[in-house]
Symmetry: C3
Subunit: 280 residues, 3 copies
């Protein structure tokens, strides 16, 4: 891991690329601060999300009991809420943690996994969105479902394109004061005023379960060190997407991709990120 | 991934091998349809089961909340129920989902992990079996325990051979209208009338946790596209066993076997499956 | 896997190294007995803990339902209790299993993950410690928190050094009749009278989630075959640390380290362990 100071990192990109400069600052910032990221996430991805955060340099924790969830949010630098395998007591924990994060000014990410697939899932996502997450990240189907334009969702995999969800995302961003990230073949982020596109990533990545969830976790780590939420979200997209590209270049399939992705998050240096990040 | 149409695939095997032809049709069918497979499974294997399904070309989802479980089964092409880390609310969800699958004609798989180890586990497995799963898959100890011939089970690993459980499996198949799959050094499947044996697989596979559970998940995907349950079960055994052999050939131990197995499920082509499948 | 009988293994180390001799005996003993290890552990690490036990040669099971937890402990050779993702019903299961283990003379390990981070976590760890685990294993921050010297814990990663926690560990060991293992850059174990240090391991290991939890699980397997708890704990430290060193030598980052570690636990032979174990 070759870290450089954030000023050094910034110096390597032209002033015309403030998004890339922010991504480099964010990468070095996470490694320097090792922020504690509180995750209330689904059973499927807990291990991989924790490993993605550790590989990047953050300090992950998975805590969901009602007896301690608010205490834990209070000592954390960011919160990540993911409804992938939700149930009532977990939803209560998510809500309490989100409220506490709001009270304390701790940035938090909402990942509405599978919104649109069932009414319970859609309703839960909307109730959490009303608590004003710093970032809402989903695929196009999920964002459309949360926005009320249901119909395209099939399970947890998206059937709609990112561009089609941008209008809905913009409305959600403005209404809830959040930054919305739509991931897919192309990734788009908007805070309701600005729009950022990220062209990084690889077609094999959707064949590994929970990489979207890992991205949400990484977004939490980025928010802990970069308070412009759109810049933090764009940084996470570029970091995760570039790591995915590096991993795919040496992977024989989805099994080895997952392993190589964790290695790439660990070894990614600012020069590689600067030269490969495709943010606009 | 080199897919061919099912007619092409069938054309490559002699008419004397209808089981292999069905396995090739099933492999191409799963990749073409990407069926949504609803899993209610144990915490240990959720990630690996989801990854096995994604690698093969199916679309997995893990959903267990009573508030949504029947809604989700209704939109799925197959259901997989696995009692590995059961508790009362999960068992209720399994039962509701199984009933809904039965009502809608959605094929489903029951994996009675650890039946025989405790009375709770055995009773739960039997209550679910009474709901008439399309396929019941377990090791010999589990099948014997479910059938009432308890005694050989030690934890979740089998201590009995597959052949010894065939008589019990035949009775279960006839009584419950199910296809029973017994996995072990040799794999055997029966629908109570016909018997299929599969000689694929590798001795290192039991040293990776939850590969039997992944096989159950893959069986669900196969049932979604092949309605002859015995043929679907045989296809799953051959596909998973051949992938395991390919993975073991390049693995240094159980860690790399798991990774290579996911890669092999992704890259497996019909020619390789046709030449390596050992079904009789 | 090249096993030798325990007498052969012992013969290869000088009489001046009784700890190494015990580690070799323990390694061969686990492989010969394949002890059933009952785990009540956290969602994040279940898969990896099960795989570590299988790779080493033990037979893992994850069972937590109140309806069966005591039955399962009764048929097991060791119990591992880990509070990583605790909630009230799980804590009840942990307590019942621990009581049963105590009644039956079944050795058990307590892993107080994140003790000190919240009051709920610290209180739960202390209540379980009062049930007199055979081994208590944590990082320095967790051991200090359990002992009452709270303050240094940040989430689940340690901020204190092992040496600083030795005095607290000695008091805990004497008070509760337990062997306390403090893991970190250097690992220390004490039964309140004797102190063992282990210099094995690698700096990359903390970048993989749950390796401490896997070590606790491996300690359970070692206790099943070696009744001197301090020797069993030292054996687990050496086995796991040497496997980590072998894995790190060929890993490109934390993703490949996890994979290679499972392979190394499977392939580790007594000669390699004898030559690399750093126990004093």
């Amino acid at each position: 891991m070759t870290d450089v100071s954030s000023s050094d990192a910034t110096a390597r990109v032209p002033a015309s690329q403030p998004l890339v400069a922010a991504a480099l600052r964010t990468l070095t910032g996470v490694r320097a601060a090792a922020p504690l990221v509180h995750n209330i996430t689904n059973y499927v991805v807990m291990n991989n999300s924790a490993n993605a955060l550790l590989a990047l340099g953050a300090s992950p924790a998975m805590v969901h009991a009602l007896e301690e969830v608010e205490d834990f949010t209070s000592i954390s630098s960011a919160l990540v809420v993911n409804i992938g395998t939700l149930s009532p007591s977990w939803v209560s924990a998510m809500q309490r943690a989100a409220v506490r994060a709001g009270e304390r000014g701790i940035p938090w990410v909402l990942d509405p996994v599978g919104a649109g697939a069932t009414a319970y899932r859609t309703d839960t996502a909307r109730a959490l969105l009303a608590l004003r997450p710093t970032v809402l990240r989903g695929n196009a189907s999920e964002i459309l479902a949360v926005a009320g334009d249901v119909g395209g969702t099939k399970g947890v995999d998206s059937t709609a394109g990112s561009e089609a969800a941008l209008e809905a995302a913009t409305i959600l961003a403005q209404r809830h004061g959040t930054t919305v990230v739509i991931t897919g073949a192309e990734d788009i982020a908007t805070d309701g005023a600005r729009v950022v596109r990220c062209g990084n990533g690889h077609a094999l990545m959707p064949r590994v379960t929970g990489l979207g969830c890992s991205l949400s976790a990484v977004t939490g780590a980025c928010l802990a060190v970069e308070r412009d939420a759109l810049h933090a979200a764009a940084a996470a997209l570029a970091i995760f997407g570039v790591a995915g590209e590096l991993a795919a270049a040496q992977a024989a399939g989805p099994g080895s991709l997952q392993v190589a992705l964790l290695d790439a998050l660990y070894t990614l240096d600012v020069d590689t990120l600067a030269s490969r990040a495709r943010l606009s």
